[in-house]
Amino acid sequence: MGPVRKTTVIDFLEWTRRHKPEVTALCQLGKSEFMGLVVEYERSKGVRTLDQRSNLYLKWESTQWIFASKSNDGEALAAIA
């Protein structure tokens, strides 16, 4: 499963900046912390439950994998189309 769109990540960054000022780097987050943020973010957009088998969840997992595997978020963002 590919990652979410880059524009969605930008939207997520804007949401994180506004609602989670304590988070300053996504690659510093563990997977569970990242996905916890994602669940909150998607809930704010009207997704009531994010099923772990859903395509959306898997896309975000893939996105997290990219952020976790790059040395910084800039590289991670660049790797997402």
């Binding site: 769109r5 880059k6 524009t7 804007e14 800039g74 590289e75 963002l77």
Partner: protein, 308 residues
């Protein structure tokens, strides 16, 4: 997009370079986002302005300019504004139509109508500016001139844009317009951003800047503040919906029906901004049908929503 192997990540720079080269983009050493080598969120927070360029694959001049001159765009924007391109968008696998719907946290994004494309959206922590650039998308020189003046204005402002910067941005657009001898002036919206918990809504005090004249309140704002009988409006939307239902069964018709139904529900709830949001993408068919059957309140609301 380069396919990722199952075992371990590709180097991001390699992915970026390969993708850009494959689609024919030209860029200078160190100009790709990956080469900045900084934390994306820290960068996002520290750069005072951010820009998204909404366009469809039909906007060839904009499309070509981004492909060929990404490095120049990146240099022009410098440390005052970050541009976020989407490679899938550039490749044509994704277009602005589907992208816009997902951006509920980007101020001004939900206010963009597909009919306005291409559109530049610039936002800071305090305000956003929406600049439809249709009249500049005739050729790449016009597009380049526009970007040069827009980024020049942002450098002149020297911080995140505020709603009081409408005049500077307008002047920049006017200069670009004069330089490439364009007749049509874009209508620019500069609005202070509202803190949206879930969905973005147009905040109070929207300023419309048209042809260099600042200070006019938008039609939408005027309508929202006007003394409209919402009960009568809801009844007119119901009448309009019935008329539209008889007019066709294509997907476009169904979309229009849905928009009018949503406007009707908002009117029944007394939600003026909801009426505007529901109607903002309604087309000429809806307007002409409303005019034909003589539902005056609905006509005024549709005109205000689509900016006529």
């Amino acid at each position: 997009m380069t396919k990722r192997p199952d075992s371990g990540p590709l180097d991001a720079r390699q992915v970026e370079d390969e993708d850009l080269r494959r689609i024919g983009a030209r860029f200078a050493e160190g100009a790709t986002p990956a080469a900045r080598g900084v934390d994306a969120l820290a960068r996002y927070i520290s750069v005072p302005n951010r820009m998204l360029i909404f366009y469809s694959s039909e906007d060839e001049a904009v499309h070509s300019y981004i492909l060929r001159h990404w490095a120049a765009l990146d240099r022009m924007s410098g440390e005052i504004c970050d541009i976020y391109p989407s490679l899938m968008q550039i490749e044509g696998n994704e277009d602005a139509y589907s992208t816009i719907a997902e951006l509920s946290n980007i101020p001004g994004a939900s206010d963009i109508s597909i009919r306005e494309l291409p559109v530049i959206l610039i936002w800071s922590d305090h305000a956003y500016a929406k600049i439809p650039i249709q009249c500049f998308s005739t050729d790449q020189i016009a597009v380049r001139t526009l970007f040069r003046h827009v980024f020049g204005a942002l450098h002149d402002i020297g911080r995140g844009i505020a709603d009081g910067d409408a005049q500077i941005i307008t002047e920049a657009i006017r200069q670009a317009q004069a330089e490439v001898r364009l007749q049509d002036a874009p209508v620019i919206y500069v609005d202070r951003r509202t803190d949206m918990s879930t969905h973005n809504t147009a905040g109070p005090g929207s300023v419309i800047v048209s042809g260099g004249t600042t200070g006019d309140i938008t039609l939408r704002q005027k309508w929202s503040e006007s003394d409209v009988d919402m009960k009568a409006l809801a009844a007119e939307f119901e009448k309009l919906r019935e008329e539209l239902r008889a007019g066709g069964r294509s997907p476009d018709h169904d979309i229009a029906l849905g928009q009018v139904a949503a406007a009707e529900a908002a009117a029944k709830a007394g939600d003026r901004s909801g009426v505007m949001l529901a109607l903002k993408s309604s087309g000429k068919w809806v307007l002409s049908t409303a005019e034909k059957i003589g539902v005056g309140l609905a006509v005024q609301a549709i005109k205000a929503a689509i900016g006529l």
